[in-house]
């Protein structure tokens, strides 16, 4: 019973945050709702006994990505006072397409026979994770660092343009 209650609390966080993200006009609130959703996701991981993933979720998504998004919003002038409508003429098309997409994904998810186990994981899952990172998945592990390098180079090149522009303005 207790775990259902906790599950529903996290669900309220996730779904409430999700609805908040799309319904509010204020971008700053959207970003705050996003971090609420992401924290709720971390709660799911805890319920699934995946503490490390929960911490990763919080460190990377709440601590880094959400902060980055908040920064981006705060640094953009006039973004807060935007009075443009939230919807455009294709609202109805979107209203049809997105439920269809949801059903398609649902069908796919239901077709897979997910192995379900009610037992708590045995052994230290973290050590197994580390061994897999540097065992069977060592090439993806190395590729990640290249990916991060590319991401950083791209980000710096993109950000530097605006950097020099506003640098003179200030």
């Amino acid at each position: 019973m207790a775990e259902q209650i906790v599950f529903f609390i996290f669900t309220i966080l996730v779904l409430g945050g999700g609805i908040g993200i799309i319904s509010t006009k204020n971008l700053y609130y959207s970003a705050l709702f996003l971090s609420m959703t992401l924290s709720g996701m971390a709660g799911y991981f805890v319920l699934l006994n995946a503490g490390f993933l929960a911490a990763v979720q919080v460190v990377v998504y709440v601590g880094a990505i959400a902060i980055l998004i908040l920064f981006a919003i705060m640094l953009s002038r006039r973004m807060m006072t935007s009075s443009e409508p939230q919807t455009n003429r294709q609202t109805w098309l979107a209203a049809i397409v997105s439920p269809l997409l949801f059903i398609a994904i649902l069908v796919l998810v239901l077709q897979v026979n997910w192995p379900v186990s009610s037992a708590a994981p045995t052994g230290d899952a973290l050590i197994l994770l580390g061994m897999s990172f540097l065992g069977s998945y060592v090439i993806p592990f190395e590729v990640i660092s290249v990916l991060l390098l590319v991401a950083l180079v791209g980000a710096i090149i993109l950000a530097r343009d605006t950097h020099t522009d506003t640098g003179r303005e200030q």
């Binding site: 775990e3 971090s35 503490g51 880094a64 920064f71 973290l126």
Partner: protein
């Protein structure tokens, strides 16, 4: 549809490993009491005691007397402050974004309190022994950053916003060296659990990590001080520049909550430093005493732990009393161009030394790891080797810094010469 219902039912049923109703054991009740005491007694007390202590110590450093009117030695000064905070009118600026403005301080305080969940205060006494202990601390810290950003932005005040920007760029910059030094500890201890890390610092296993890894200690301690935003890294509140930074518009208890967050966090950093580097509750006779009488051992463990925490807290206040504030460009340069590269180098060197002392293990994955060439020297040998490696790192870094300083000095002289001509 039936499938969907089954699927949902499955989710709800199969989380039943969290068997709370099956055995609402004594342990859960003990934990709850411990948790509530921690949050509702220790946190406000930490703030009350530490503010008094800080004002007194800094006053002595500056050749003043400090608070001395309320009660003996001014001891009741902090209580008077607390009463004032409770009874002071709480103004919210008209232009503020009310909801995030009110959530911000609470979030910062909650995040600071949550750190204590994994700090072992005595043998067998810890909130919860998470296997991701030190990573959990990093994760919880993220919420504090979010609280600061919310407070700064929602205040609708230029100082507050500037303070929040400074705060967040400082906190994210110093999180990297802090995390890297935590990884270094995890490599040496072979675990992220704070309880295991303390166990590994017994004299049999090689002693305090402060002795084995002074460079890691400095990296961790300095970046933690920056994470709390205390002097000399107190740019985020910098009273003389941006009047108080992100909490300039707060008054009454909401301001008090930010103070609680700061002091509770500072105490947590001291406790964490004691846990990770000063051997936690380890001290003479604790292990022997715990074997014969767990209660006496726990009390002695508490005493040693609090003594170590006290020393670190004093160092934090000493910093505040003596060191001038960084400038923001110096601060960020120090974080990114000095701490981060040194932390990366230190991590790799430490990992190499640890590999030399690798004990032979069978992995259960179809292969076994043979013992390292120096494994027979054991924990003490590893401590000595790590110390030598750390000193080597420090020496190399000092050479690099000297070369860098020479070059920038030459550049500056050339620039001056060019202007004079």
């Amino acid at each position: 549809m039936e499938q969907l219902i089954n699927w949902l039912a499955n989710i709800l049923e199969n989380t039943s490993w969290w068997g709370l109703p099956a055995d609402v054991s004594a342990a859960v009740i003990v934990w709850s009491v411990y948790g509530f005491i921690l949050a509702l007694v220790v946190a406000p007390m930490a703030m009350i005691v530490l503010t008094w202590l800080e004002r007194k110590i800094i006053a002595r450093i500056q050749d003043r007397i400090g608070p001395n009117r309320a009660g003996p030695f001014g001891l009741l000064q902090a209580v008077a402050d607390a009463i004032k905070m409770l009874t002071k009118e709480d103004t919210t600026p008209a232009g503020a974004d009310r909801v995030p403005f009110n959530i911000g301080p609470g979030l910062a305080a909650v995040a600071a309190i949550l750190i204590y969940a994994v700090i072992p205060v005595a043998p067998g006494i810890v909130g919860t022994d998470l296997n991701i202990g030190i990573f959990y601390i990093v994760a919880v810290g993220s919420f504090g950053v979010l609280g600061i950003l919310m407070a700064g932005w929602s205040s609708n005040n230029k100082y507050a916003l500037l303070g929040a920007f400074r705060a967040v760029s400082q906190l994210v910059s110093y999180e990297i060296p802090m995390v890297l030094s935590l990884i270094t500890i995890a490599v040496v201890a072979g675990s992220m659990s704070t309880v295991t890390i303390v166990d590994k610092q017994s004299w049999v296993n090689g002693g305090w990590y402060l002795i084995a890894m002074p460079v890691t200690f400095l990296l961790f301690f300095l970046s933690s001080v920056a994470e709390v935003g205390r002097s000399p890294f107190d740019l985020l509140e910098a009273d003389s520049e941006i009047v108080a930074g992100f909490h300039v518009e707060y008054s009454g208890l909401k301001f008090g909550l930010f103070m609680i967050a700061e002091y509770v966090h500072a105490l947590a950093v001291a406790a964490l430093t004691a846990t990770l580097f000063l051997g936690g509750w380890h001290g003479p006779f604790v292990t022997q005493l715990t074997a014969s009488s767990p209660v006496a051992g726990a009390i002695l463990g508490h005493i040693y732990f609090l003594l170590k925490v006290g020393v670190i807290v004093f160092i934090l206040m000493w910093f505040r009393g003596t060191l001038p504030r960084f400038r923001i460009d110096q601060l960020l340069d120090f974080g990114w161009k000095f701490m981060t590269p040194v932390a990366l180098l230190n991590l790799l060197v430490t990992a190499f030394v640890v590999k030399l002392f690798q004990p032979g293990v069978s992995t259960g994955m179809g292969y076994a790891i043979s013992a390292g060439p120096l494994a027979s020297f054991g924990g003490v040998g590893q401590t000595i080797a790590l110390l030598i490696a750390n000193l080597l790192v420090a020496f190399l870094v000092s050479l690099a810094v000297r070369a860098f300083a020479r070059r920038s000095k030459a550049q500056a002289l050339r620039a001056v010469a060019a202007v004079e001509n």
